[in-house]
């Protein structure tokens, strides 16, 4: 019974993410409108037959903008998380394995990064680098690095003491081989568990930056940007923000559920979710 429920989280979370990926991948087939086409005569139409999610303040079809915008948001989330994963895991594993001065100095650098609220760090990196989709990978990815760094370092610290590492060492494996053949493969499953919540965090960061007006530049629709478009009309016409926000929330929920499910699967002792 427990096993089924545990899998349920993975199934529900995975299904939500799959649906989202499907929607954005087949965006051109799901809509007949152009995401950038302004039609001021039909602005702020409520959801109805012609526009299932209504139109925004410029008469653009919100459903179209959301499915196309999801492309940008998901690509940004995937790339920034991948950046953080590679940097954070490599540095963390190295740090935990080599220890000494390298570990100490890197640890302090990570401390400094963690002294900033993530959103603030994203904001400032974004402003310095200038706003573009590519720079967004860095401004969202860099603040996530500590998450992967700490997890991989902590895991490495315990793995390096295990007997199979000592065995490999005694058989003459060099540092490079030890890290990449023996330690890293054992660190990765733990990384996989936080990967999902990191993805959710990246989606959240993109939309929050968009909300604050420092997202991806106009006219590229991203979920954050759509939320920001609707924000000023929140009291008179909340539909735009409501739908975009719902998609953002649903996607984050999907990643959170998947992450919970994976965590339970990895470590049944931690009860983060319902069983």
């Amino acid at each position: 019974m427990r096993a089924i429920f545990r899998n349920k989280l993975i199934i529900i979370g995975g299904a939500i993410i799959l649906v989202m990926v499907f929607l954005v991948a087949f965006a051109p087939l799901l809509t007949s409108y152009d995401y950038g086409k302004v039609d001021l005569r039909n602005k702020q139409l409520p959801p109805g037959a012609g526009h299932i999610m209504g139109t925004d303040a410029y008469g653009r079809d919100v459903w179209t903008r959301i499915v196309y915008g999801g492309r940008i948001s998901l690509v940004v989330a995937i790339c920034s998380t991948a950046l953080a994963l590679v940097c954070g895991t490599l540095l963390g594993t190295l740090s935990g394995f080599v220890r000494g001065t390298f570990d100490f100095v890197l640890g302090r650098v990570i401390d400094v990064m963690m002294a900033f609220p993530m959103l603030l760090l994203s904001l400032i990196i974004g402003i310095v680098m200038g706003s573009s989709v590519r720079n967004m990978f860095f401004s969202i990815g860099i603040p996530i690095i500590p998450m992967f760094y700490r997890m991989s370092r902590a895991t490495t610290l315990s793995i390096r003491e295990r007997s199979f590492v000592a065995a490999a060492r005694s058989m003459g494996s060099g540092r490079f081989r030890l890290i990449f053949r023996h330690v890293l493969p054992n660190v990765l499953p733990h990384i996989l568990v936080i990967l999902s919540s990191a993805m959710g965090g990246a989606i959240l960061a993109e939309s929050s930056l968009g909300f604050l007006g420092y997202g991806i530049p106009i006219p590229t629709p991203s979920w954050g940007l759509i939320v920001n478009d609707g924000r000023n009309f929140m009291f008179t016409y909340p539909w735009t923000t409501a739908f975009a926000g719902a998609f953002i929330a649903l996607t984050i929920l999907g990643f959170n559920l998947l992450g919970d499910g994976l965590r339970d699967h990895m470590d049944p002792k931690i009860r983060t979710s319902m069983k």
């Binding site: 100490f104 400094v112 923000t241 929920l253 983060t272 979710s273 319902m274």
Partner: protein, 314 residues
């Protein structure tokens, strides 16, 4: 014990210095000179030159950094370009509002989270548990700004309980200015699952079984034995939550138009007031560091196991 606290404090110093260096270096990389921003597009080269000399912008970066660092120890974070006043006094004017928000937010959301978490743990696997866990998972997945906007629509527009602009409306009762952002933090639902899982873990410990076999009443076991021991991760969560809410203040104060440090920072970024951006960022980072430090120390005091593990730096 004392060594642990001293060690923690010593570790905070390089972090603070690092934060200052990062803020100083990074802010100077922002495209656009503050002289051009302040004097506008009509300024002549001569005017810009005079301005740069006056504000020390013509000196080499390392000299500027040294001046800024020595000034920092005198409690001087420079002069704001848009307010034309010392950054320090502007930030400290706004700071109480943010601290107030963070404190009330964390206290109320903790009370509700802990209550719900305990209830969920008691009804493990039954409908109250499933409902509570589902709602808090949903709350955690909703972006802060999204919850905030709906709190505004519902409580300010539809019900008219709170003013739309929290800080601006004069004469509104104190609690009304805090209601919106605090409500948003509560609906975020962060601590519920931590409390629940921490309670469930404790409930399986041997001493709980002992207490049960002694015939102690259920509520006594729940509150004295279980919750008392489950409190350590909960306190940690509250502490880190307090730290994080200084970051969350950026969004909350923007949504509810509260004039705290977060809003100040966003306005400063908007008007390219770099000394103010630098000062506000630095102060926010200091509060994050202090709140985390305090949490580490408190949990170290409460739980000796952490203290021993904490001897390992990083």
């Amino acid at each position: 014990m004392r060594n642990y606290i001293i060690k923690r404090l010593l570790f905070a110093i390089p972090t603070l210095l690092g934060v200052f260096i990062v803020v100083f270096v990074v802010i100077r990389q922002i495209p656009g000179d503050s002289a051009e921003v302040m004097l506008g597009p009509m300024a002549t080269n001569e005017q810009i030159e005079i301005y740069r000399v006056k504000h020390g912008l013509d000196k080499p970066g390392i000299v500027q950094f040294w001046i800024a660092l020595t000034n920092l120890f005198k409690g001087d974070l420079g002069v704001s370009l848009s307010h034309n006043r010392p950054v320090m006094s502007i930030v400290f004017e706004r700071l109480p509002s943010t601290i107030e928000l963070a404190l009330y937010g964390i206290v109320f959301s903790s009370i509700i989270s802990i209550t719900l978490g305990v209830v969920a743990a008691c009804f493990r696997g039954r409908w109250p548990d499933i409902a509570i866990v589902s709602f808090s998972t949903l709350g955690m997945s909703l972006p802060t700004f999204f919850i905030g906007l709906w709190v505004l629509v519902i409580f300010a527009l539809k019900l008219g309980v709170i003013p739309v602009l929290s800080n601006m409306a004069g004469g509104t009762p104190y609690w009304k200015t805090l209601f919106g952002p605090v409500m948003t933090m509560i609906l975020g639902g962060t601590g519920v699952r931590t409390t629940r899982s921490s309670m469930l873990e404790i409930m399986e410990e041997d001493f709980i079984r002992t207490a049960r076999s002694k015939g102690l009443p259920g509520w006594r076991i729940l509150f004295r034995h279980a919750l008392g021991n489950a409190l350590i991760p909960i306190v940690t969560m509250m502490g880190y939550g307090f730290a994080i809410s200084f970051g969350g203040a950026i969004v909350l104060e923007t949504v509810f138009v509260r004039s705290g440090v977060g809003k100040l920072l966003m306005d400063a970024i908007g008007s390219r007031d770099y000394p103010l951006v630098q000062g506000a960022t630095f102060i926010i980072a200091i509060f994050m560091i202090l709140a985390n430090l305090l949490t580490d120390i408190v949990t170290g005091v409460v739980d000796p196991r952490i203290r021993v593990a904490g001897d390992e730096p990083g």
